[in-house]
Amino acid sequence: MADLILSDIRKSYGSLEILHGIDLDIKSGEFIVFVGPSGCGKSTLLRSIAGLEDITSGELRIAGELVNDVPPSRRGIAMVFQSYALYPHMTVYDNMAFGMRIARESKAEIDRRVRQAAEILQLTDYLARLPKALSGGQRQRVAIGRAIVRNPKVFLFDEPLSNLDAALRVATRIEIAKLKESMPDTTMVYVTHDQVEAMTLADRIVVLKDGRVEQVGSPMELYCHPGNLFVARFIGSPAMNILPATIERAGAPTAVRLTDGAVAHAPIETPESAAGTKVSFGVRPEDLGIADELDGGVLFEGKVDYIEQLGEVQLVYVDLGHAGEPLIAKLPGGVPVARGAVIRLTASPGNLHLFDGDGRAFARNGATAMAA
């Protein structure tokens, strides 16, 4: 039982406020992922939870207990540092065993758990080395290993996989997922930049921006119903295409007119008052398709500017003619497109997004959207 309650957490360095009042309710056993642009305060928030930073104001409760003044060692946490923080004078083995030795676990138990973690992280060959004789990825794995051999109530991970190669990353990610499954009561808080990690691991994702929570929700919720423009662009890669548009007819569905004249009908309810207002129209690159293949009418037409081949898919950058960023479409690798050629794209209405002038999403009739 280790739920985490953050109420109005603020943190300043000198006069510079980094966290502007974070409210968060993390249930025991939940897997929470923090995402957000670099420098938005993820590490700071994590470190505040760990007790490594004194929070300037607000309350932090772990398992119901106010821990504002409880030292880190008494909070029952394990943490993977973004900068590893390995003990430079200890071998990999000792780095991992340190916490358990402190807790006076038996030699045999320590050995068992260290070896097991080393196995998972493919570190068995390096157990006797000092950190300085390790590669970047190996160091990161040691940092992870150090956390997972312990048995805390709360796990804190600060970008634990950023230096790992794809295969190892997948493997470790799965290990973390399994770890989570094997300890259903353990709460995990995880910072990452990797969409895939966030999507696959999280029960809920917390999107941070400039020290504020933008949205909290399950991965699918964030993907399908981003609460605002920021989240919409932040979740998903490449980012959602956002275009200026005007509401032609409010209500449900709403009709919007794009700059180049095309009209899209989205199953989104807008208040009557919104009619005629300028809104942002969003569509994800992967929701776009070649117009004649799909049922809807042509939404976009433009010249192919640039193609990025990614193997099974390709990213097509389409110049819509008017100034602004190119539209990106993610098309299957097989679709023949040529640079410079004109391309017509469309998307199904259920995959369209609308944001008001302040960037807030219009409420959507969820069910219809999904079905469409």
């Binding site: 490594l52 880190p72 060692s73 946490i77 540092f81 300085k132």
Partner: protein, 336 residues
């Protein structure tokens, strides 16, 4: 007065400036003689290689010259004297050495020196470390450090006065002006003549050096402590380590190199210590040490041969430390 101050400032500027000019100028000159910028690639690389051979010597050159003149040359002279008689004129072979071996005072000094070597470096380093750690993060740490540093700033003569007022003995029943005896008396004990209590008086003298040198250890160690990556301490805190465990298992190992430096330096200092002994007991009551004995023979006995012989013995005592340090240095090379 102003003229004096101005001339002092000029003198200082000349002294320091000359040094700066050398380093800057020598490097400049090297760059000019073997230019690496603005010449063809191959020449530049050749020149760079040549620079690479020469530059280290430019860097250590002044140090080497100064060391040779001020230390190596005297060492050679000392070595020479150790085979000569009291005036340094007649060669006497090894007789000074054989004298030393047979001399009771010399053996006593060696024994005392061993005691000092066992106790003082360890105590200074340990206390210095503990104080450095404790004062590291409290708000009045700087003040506390300054107070503990203060003994180091007091000259040896000053220190000996201070300790006179600590160890001073007055007959039983009289007003004690030494605080130690006053305390003893206050608690109903009998005042002691601390500096002449056999065997233990060595320790009372050591206390003085410890009192002085702890500040030294503290200063160096506290600058080293601040170089420890903060995150490793944070990580250990999260790992549940107590402050003690963090101290022993995380901080101490990370500044081990510095601890070794401090230890080595104090060990060597102990080999050389004589001021305290000279002013407190002059080696009487069996408190002599090698350095004081050397001093005695040099300036009281005016026997340069024997003085030099003892000096050579002191220098030989440092050989193990040198060997250990060579090892250390070569190991670092591998790690780099």
């Amino acid at each position: 007065m102003t003229a004096q101050i101005v001339s002092a400032i000029v003198t200082v500027l000349i002294g320091v400036g000359g040094c700066v000019v050398y380093f800057w100028g020598a490097n400049r000159l090297l760059d000019l003689v073997f230019p690496a910028r603005g010449v063809s690639g191959a020449t530049a690389i050749d020149n760079l290689r040549r620079q690479g051979y020469i530059r280290p010597w430019l860097f250590i050159g002044p140090a080497l010259i100064v060391l040779s003149v001020y230390l190596i040359y005297p060492v050679i002279a000392t070595f020479y004297y150790s085979f000569h008689d009291r005036g340094g004129q007649n060669f006497v072979g090894l007789s000074n050495y054989s004298w030393a071996l047979g001399d009771r005072e010399f053996r006593q000094a060696i024994f005392n020196n061993l005691l000092w070597l066992l106790v003082v470096p360890a105590a200074c380093t340990f206390l210095g470390l503990v104080i450095a750690v404790l004062t590291d993060r409290i708000w009045w740490g700087t003040l506390a450090r300054s107070l503990i540093f203060m003994p180091l700033a007091i000259s040896f003569v000053g220190a000996s006065v201070i300790w006179k007022f600590v160890y001073e003995y007055r007959g039983d029943g009289q007003t004690q002006i030494g605080i130690l005896n006053a305390l003893v008396q206050f608690f109903g004990g009998e005042p002691q003549v601390w500096v002449s209590t056999p065997f233990w008086n060595n320790f009372f003298l050591m206390v003085i050096l410890i009192w002085i040198q702890t500040g030294f250890a503290m200063v160096i160690l506290s600058s080293a402590l601040r170089g420890i990556p903060e995150e490793t301490i944070e990580a250990a805190t999260i790992d549940g380590a107590s402050p003690f465990q963090i101290f022993w298992k995380i901080m101490v190992p990370q500044i081990w190199g510095t601890i070794a430096v401090v230890w080595t330096t104090i060990t060597i200092l102990v080999l050389k210590v004589f001021d305290i002994i000279l002013t407190m007991t002059n080696g009487q009551w069996n408190t002599n040490t090698l350095a004081n004995l050397m001093f005695d023979w040099m300036f009281r006995g005016t026997d340069f041969g024997r003085g030099a012989t003892i000096a050579i013995v002191i220098m030989l005592a440092v050989v193990p430390i040198m060997v250990w340090n060579i090892r250390q240095a070569t190991r670092e090379d591998g790690g780099h």
